[in-house]
């Protein structure tokens, strides 16, 4: 009589491999306790690197602490730092710059991203190749992009100025994109749009591809024109994806730092000094740690609040 061997599952292998001493201890634990055991390292890590710094920042925001004066006495200042931030004209100027940057980048990226996605979705010949080409800018590091656009914008050697000269006849050396007060804000909008439109395109493309073909077929049967199909089928059904792209880009650009820092460093003057650059200067150049903590909390609450409102709107659109 021969014995039949039943293949073991992974769990059974693991159970057999567990030393007896450990197995005895684990046997006494409930499923819930084991679940906690598994997720506790992650929770501890999150507490250490996310929650603790947040709580600590809130605490610092009510003090006069300066990180460059370790020996100075730390005093509680109540809500003085919050009042100072909210009444500081420089902070409001920075918020205006941020708003300008946010509004125009999101508007342009959404419009161009959706248009590109719509074109790519036509599945023309070699559309795969062109999709890859379009995606290249977003694969680059913002530091690299910032650096090479600084060269592209150079009035004497930059290709941008020569392209403008070629197209409009305006002499290349007669204007400076990142040095002019009037143009600098647009210079950073152009670069961000160039870099991140592909990302919006990708999300919109996912939205467009998720629309079932039979809906268009039904519309064709009903003799709906392509224009009507676009506005009554394509746009409404892709809208949750577009809104998701706007949310992602909004949060990203609200805290934009690296690219602006490399391109203009907030200049000329303070023309392109977005909130994150002001925050960095206050925190790590002026070393007003308490003040900058309050500023950071205000920015966090603003982004968090706006994102929450937006997500509710997004859910409403999705449930329609």
């Amino acid at each position: 009589m021969s014995e039949t061997t039943v293949p073991l599952t992974i769990a059974e292998h693991a159970a057999r491999a567990t030393p007896d001493a450990v197995a005895r201890q684990v046997r006494g634990l409930s499923d819930r306790a084991i679940a906690w055991l598994f997720i506790s390292p992650t929770i501890l890590l999150l507490l250490a690197i996310n929650i603790f710094p947040l709580v600590w920042t809130v605490r610092l925001s009510f003090t006069n602490f300066r990180a460059n004066r370790p020996n100075a006495k730390i005093l509680g200042v109540g809500i003085d730092n919050y009042v100072s931030v909210l009444t500081d004209p420089d902070v409001w100027a920075a918020m205006q710059s941020t708003a300008h940057f946010l509004f125009w980048t999101i508007l342009l990226q959404t419009a161009l991203g959706f248009a590109l996605a719509w074109l790519v979705d036509r599945r023309f010949k070699s559309h795969g190749f062109w999709t890859t080409v379009i995606l290249v800018p977003m694969m680059l590091s913002p530091a690299v992009v910032g650096n090479f656009w600084t060269f592209l914008y150079q009035p004497q050697i930059g290709l941008w100025n020569y392209a403008v000269q070629f197209l409009t006849g305006i002499p290349a050396a007669s204007f400076s994109m990142i040095g002019s007060v009037k143009l600098a804000r647009w210079a950073i909008v152009v670069v961000d749009t160039w870099m991140w439109t592909p990302y919006v395109m990708l999300i919109c493309l996912a939205g467009l591809r998720s629309i079932p073909g039979y809906i268009y077929e039904a519309a064709e049967v009903d003799r709906a024109s392509p224009w009507r199909q676009f506005w009554t089928i394509t746009v409404p059904m892709a809208l949750p994806f577009i809104m998701l792209a706007v949310l992602f880009r909004g949060i990203e650009n609200f805290k934009m730092f690296d690219m602006v820092n490399l391109l203009t460093n907030g200049g000329p003057g303070s023309t392109t000094e977005v909130a994150s650059i002001t925050l960095k200067r206050e925190a790590f150049e002026k070393w007003r740690t308490g003040y900058s903590s309050a500023f950071a909390i205000i920015l966090f609450v603003t982004v968090f609040g706006l994102a929450n409102i937006y997500v509710k709107a997004l859910n409403r659109v999705k449930s329609r």
């Binding site: 200049g267 003057g269 002026k286 007003r288």
Partner: protein
């Protein structure tokens, strides 16, 4: 097979022999010296080989580009880091570093080892070593003398056609300017001129916004027009000094010079951009630190006979220039204080100082500077001496960073962005500075 076993045994024996052999005497002591990554740092690496040869203490260097120099090393000091045993920090850091205990006070060490501050140029002792200013409390040894100076294209200035045209236009010879007005005239003369088929520009000025650039540039006009940081009789009283009518004129002059005579696009430019502009033959005159002049003089394209130097020209209210340079300090958190002090002692010796100058560093020691042959030892040596005799420095208070960033913002807003008037910019600057000193409890 036997052969193979024999070979393996031989290799194993060799490895064992090597591992058991007494190691060559290793340099166990090592010092880390922190500074900026620039030409003089290379000279210091060369110079420090003498120290290692003499003491057996190995030297390690941590050089950081100027753009992140302050961020990097102030963070290091604030976090009581042990990376740097010796730090060549900016002159403006002395107040904060002394008051916060980052630098070791060197008075006792100097006394014990016969190092006298009288052996160093007074302006450098005041600028790099003392805190509070004008008191005999030393936290650094003057290490690298520096000031803002100018370079010009001597070859362009000496071209007969250009000289003739300039004389016809301005009724004087084309020569290095003696006043700021002359400097502007020359800059205007060269602006947009085509030389050797290339459009060139008048002058290169500091305009950098992020760290200290535009402040280090504009002060060369402000001082000479009568700007003062405070009432000499009443410390921290700034109204009427920082924003005096003379100071307003000085700021207007810098903006006028920026508007009329600089190359397009240089709206956020500091030392490196100046070097690039000059080396690429873009500008007739360049404002920059003396520290770069040895390197420029050696440049194959614009150096040698093609380059000339001059000290900052006079303004209506005198002739001054912005102090640069640094002192060398022992970081109080270092685990190698004794070795670091040994380095300071060695560096303070006249022989080391003479070699320092010969290698391309700017010594502050009188044994070097008062040497009869010094002025002729390099084409820029006399201008360096002249400049070091008329330097002024920015605030060195513990809150210097806040004071500096306020000035960067106000001045850049006016000069580069054209926001408001010079008077408004300086009024706002006074308000910013008063706020800082009030927070510090100084006023």
């Amino acid at each position: 097979m036997d052969k193979l076993v024999a070979r393996i045994a031989a290799v194993a024996a060799a490895v064992m022999t090597l591992s058991l052999a007494p190691a060559a005497p290793a340099q166990t002591k090592q010092l880390t010296l922190c500074w900026a990554a620039w030409d003089p740092a290379n000279a210091l690496v060369e110079l420090s080989k003498d120290f290692t040869a003499k003491t057996g203490i190995a030297m390690k260097f941590e050089f950081v580009p100027w753009t992140s120099f302050a961020d990097r090393f102030l963070n290091e000091l604030n976090s009581k880091g042990k990376l740097c045993d010796l730090l060549i920090g900016d002159s403006q850091w002395i107040g904060g570093s002394a008051e916060n205990g980052h630098y070791l006070k060197l008075n006792d060490f100097f006394d014990k080892n016969g190092i006298s501050m009288k052996d160093f140029m007074p302006a450098t002792v005041l600028g790099y070593s003392e805190w509070p200013k004008n008191t005999p409390n030393y936290y650094a040894l003057p290490a690298m003398g520096d000031a803002v100076g100018w370079t010009y294209r001597k070859d362009w200035f000496s071209r007969p056609a250009i000289r003739k045209e300039f004389k016809e236009k301005h009724k004087r010879d084309l020569a290095p300017p003696k006043t700021l007005d002359e400097l502007k005239e020359i800059a205007q003369f060269f602006q947009g001129r085509v030389i050797d088929g290339k459009t060139v520009y008048g002058a290169y000025l500091y305009t950098e916004r992020g760290s200290e650039g535009i402040t280090m540039g504009v002060t060369n006009a402000l001082y000479n027009y009568g700007f003062a940081y405070e009432n000499p009789k009443k410390p921290y009283e700034m109204r009427g000094f920082v924003n005096s009518p003379d100071a307003v004129q000085g700021l207007e002059f810098y903006k006028a010079l920026y508007d009329c005579c600089t190359a397009p696009g240089l709206t956020n430019a500091y030392m490196q951009e100046g070097l690039d502009a000059f080396k690429s033959g873009q500008v007739a005159m360049q404002m920059n630190w003396f520290a770069f002049f040895p390197g420029l003089y050696k440049d194959p394209n614009v150096g040698g006979e093609k380059i000339g130097f001059f000290a900052n020209p006079a303004g209506p209210k005198g002739r001054f220039t912005q102090l640069g340079g640094q002192g060398i300090s022992v970081v109080s958190y270092s685990n190698h204080r004794d070795e670091a002090l040994q380095y300071i002692k060695w560096f303070a010796q006249p022989e080391a100082q003479k070699r320092w100058w010969a290698l391309g560093g700017y010594s502050c020691h009188k044994a070097v500077l008062n040497d009869p042959g010094f002025a002729k030892s390099a084409p820029f040596a006399q201008d360096f001496l002249t400049s070091m005799g008329m330097v002024k420095d920015f605030w060195a208070e513990p809150s210097y960073a806040q004071l500096l960033l306020a000035m960067q913002k106000r001045v850049h807003d006016f000069v580069v962005a054209g926001k408001g008037t010079a008077k408004e910019a300086l009024d706002a600057l006074v308000a910013d500075w008063e706020k800082v000193f009030k927070e510090d409890g100084k006023i």
